[in-house]
Symmetry: C2
Subunit: 154 residues, 2 copies
């Protein structure tokens, strides 16, 4: 009679769509509210890192009365469930993205330009941090500062 597998207590595969994510939400004891639906749709509609404000703008296209504090609370909840992660990109607000879309960034101190960094860039760092420091690096939650090619020549 169960609508969903009873053992589904851990995300094994990331939900492939906003609807699947909403289903997961309910399955985990959270409520599937409109504001959460719209937030998930906004997150699934992009592979960019978006600020709470930008996500609110996306949600407001569907439902203008959703308050920014609700966006923040829902982002917290989605992070708690492992669906969403956030990244500190230096100055400016925190950015959010689907956990499955997370990736590291190279950020130019001079012009602020952001380059997405492939995970391969960090394999040695991850290995060394683990062996030398017992530290398990999350390469998706990582901002590497420096100077981009343009600003070096400029």
């Amino acid at each position: 009679m169960s609508r969903t597998p009873l053992h589904a207590e851990v995300i094994t595969t990331a939900p492939a769509s906003a609807e699947e994510a909403v289903a997961l939400l309910r399955q985990r004891g959270s409520r599937a509210t409109p504001s959460r639906r719209f937030l998930l749709e906004a997150l699934y509609a992009t592979d960019q890192h978006l600020t709470a404000d930008e996500l609110a703008a996306g949600v407001h296209e569907r439902s203008p009365e959703v308050h920014l504090s609700t966006i923040y609370r829902n982002l917290d909840e989605l992070q708690r469930l492992g669906l969403v992660t956030h990244t500190h990109l230096g100055h400016g607000p925190v950015t959010y993205q689907l956990a499955s879309h997370a990736h590291a960034h190279l950020i130019c101190n001079t012009c602020g330009h952001r380059v997405e960094a492939p995970d391969g860039l960090f394999v040695e760092l991850e290995a060394r941090a683990l062996t030398d420091h017992g530290f398990r690096v999350d390469p998706h939650h990582l901002a590497v500062f420096g100077t981009c090619a343009d600003c070096q020549s400029g």
Copy 2:
């Protein structure tokens, strides 16, 4: 007649003391004010990364009337001169340190614990970022997030 070498327009060796840094300040056309002296003394008195608030506390031991906005403005000026750098350590305020004391950090997402990372940890990353992306990594201005040894076992 010159008190200081006329060609000293670029920091070749970092000032070894607050007094030397104050001299450098003047030499570069900035004024050597008490608030800057006290700020430099606070910076030279530690090899920790300190927040603007913590630095203000240090300055206030010598001169309680120095305003926090003055601390921020002086930190900006010292960064402009290359004496000081700042680091974003994830949540919480920016931290400042002498440019010569800068180093990367491993920051635990779970407990917030910070481990200083030796520069050697980043040699491959630096090389790859430069060859693959033309990006010159500043390994001192870097926060690597993940999970520390304690929190993995806990």
